[in-house]
Amino acid sequence: MTIRHHIPDRLLMAYAAGQLPEAFSLVIATHVSVCDVCRAQLAAYEALGGAVVERTEGIAMRDGSLEALMARLDALPPVSKTVARPRGSLPAPLMDYIGGDLDSVKWRPIGMGVRQALLPTDRSATVRLLHIPAGAPVPDHGHRGLEMTMVLRGAFRDQLDRFGPGDVEVADTELHHTPVAEQGEDCICLAATDAPLRFTGMVPRLAQKFLRI
């Protein structure tokens, strides 16, 4: 997979710092799972976190803290393996949230052949899978907040660029764009947003409250 559109640095830094809503963290974890460029940059931002901790002037622990922990060490069994995660055609963090592979997704139609599946996260932001038929427009909306869309299958194009598997489109301005899924293959993507989508085109506004978007 040749990835051309990566996670912007400020979002990688926010993710390294642990300051991103769960929904956006899922998109980043999914992208980093398949992108060594962003994995390396994320490691650099985590190293920066390490340097910040190292230079922080310490505040003394309460007397006896070390001794209390030392007394507990024998009861703390070593952990030598990371938890096994599901393997399949999608990156592990995404499969964790789907509870399986693509064939486990519970799609719901939202009109014009587009289907979606909301993934369970805290309410600070929303993340969903979108299935857009080949050649069909991605639901058009204006952005009021941050939006990140990662392509999983197929590709879409907007006025400026093409986004293929692994690519992430980030929009955080009042942008009115009309991406269209490429011909030939349905497009499946993972989209996170921290603002309710304001559909201006195919999906009636009224539908928003039923779609939880």
Binding site: M13, A29, A44, E46, A47, G49, M61, M70
Partner: protein
């Protein structure tokens, strides 16, 4: 490579450690040598953590605790965590360091960086939030002795970054620290740090490329 020329290992020159019933004399492993470079204390933390990893060395753990526990406590409190909860989290962070020492890879990150990620994750837990993690990479068979130059580089990065942070203008330095303390929302975080992060990125990318070739 000049890197190796600067490193002189002194097997006996380990810091004094309190007696926590640590068994016997520490045998020399390559990663346990101290370097004779001024202020390269970070590499000692790596050596200490490897002693914890390989032999559940309690004296080494106590030294790591004395260094990192107060820093993690301050790190959490600067982000607004109350003292009692901060202390509780520090104990958990250090317990995790003990339990997961086998998962620490000194060629990938310094001990300070590893401690930071554990503390960050503990803070997220305390806030009842979630932060999905990327897929792990299978870096190689456990117990493989990592490349010594890489271990050295990873350990030095924390020191170099710390020095670079110290040289930043106050305003910029404070913004970076506040981002990591958890005081800034994601919309307030700016990526332009003015710090030499490119070298770290390059080192990790090279390691990843090598890994992909091995797996290839």
């Amino acid at each position: 490579m000049t890197l190796d020329a600067r490193r002189v290992e002194i097997p006996g020159a380990r810091p004094e450690t309190p007696d926590y019933g640590a068994p016997g004399v520490v045998h020399a492993r390559r990663t346990q040598g101290r370097t004779v470079e001024n202020g390269s204390a970070e590499e000692d933390w790596t050596a200490l953590l490897i002693r914890v990893r390989d032999r559940q060395d309690r004296a080494a753990f106590a030294q790591l605790y004395r260094h990192f526990a107060p820093r993690v406590k301050a790190f959490l409190m600067k982000g607004g965590t109350g003292e009692a909860l901060a202390e509780e989290c520090v104990q958990d962070v250090m317990a995790t360091l003990w339990q997961k020492a086998a998962l620490f890879d000194p060629a990938r990150a310094s001990v300070a960086t590893w401690v930071f990620t554990i503390a960050r994750n503990r803070r997220i837990d305390a806030l009842r939030r979630a932060r999905p993690e990327p897929e792990d990479l299978d870096w190689g068979p456990a117990g493989d002795e990592p490349d010594q130059a890489e271990v050295y580089e990873a350990a030095q990065e924390t020191k170099r970054l710390g020095e670079a942070i110290a040289r930043l203008p106050d305003k910029q330095r404070v913004l970076i620290e506040r981002a990591y303390f958890g005081e800034l929302s994601h919309t307030e975080i700016a990526a332009e740090t003015g710090l030499p992060l490119g070298t770290i990125k390059s080192r990790i990318r090279l390691a990843l490329e090598r890994l992909r070739q091995q797996l290839g």
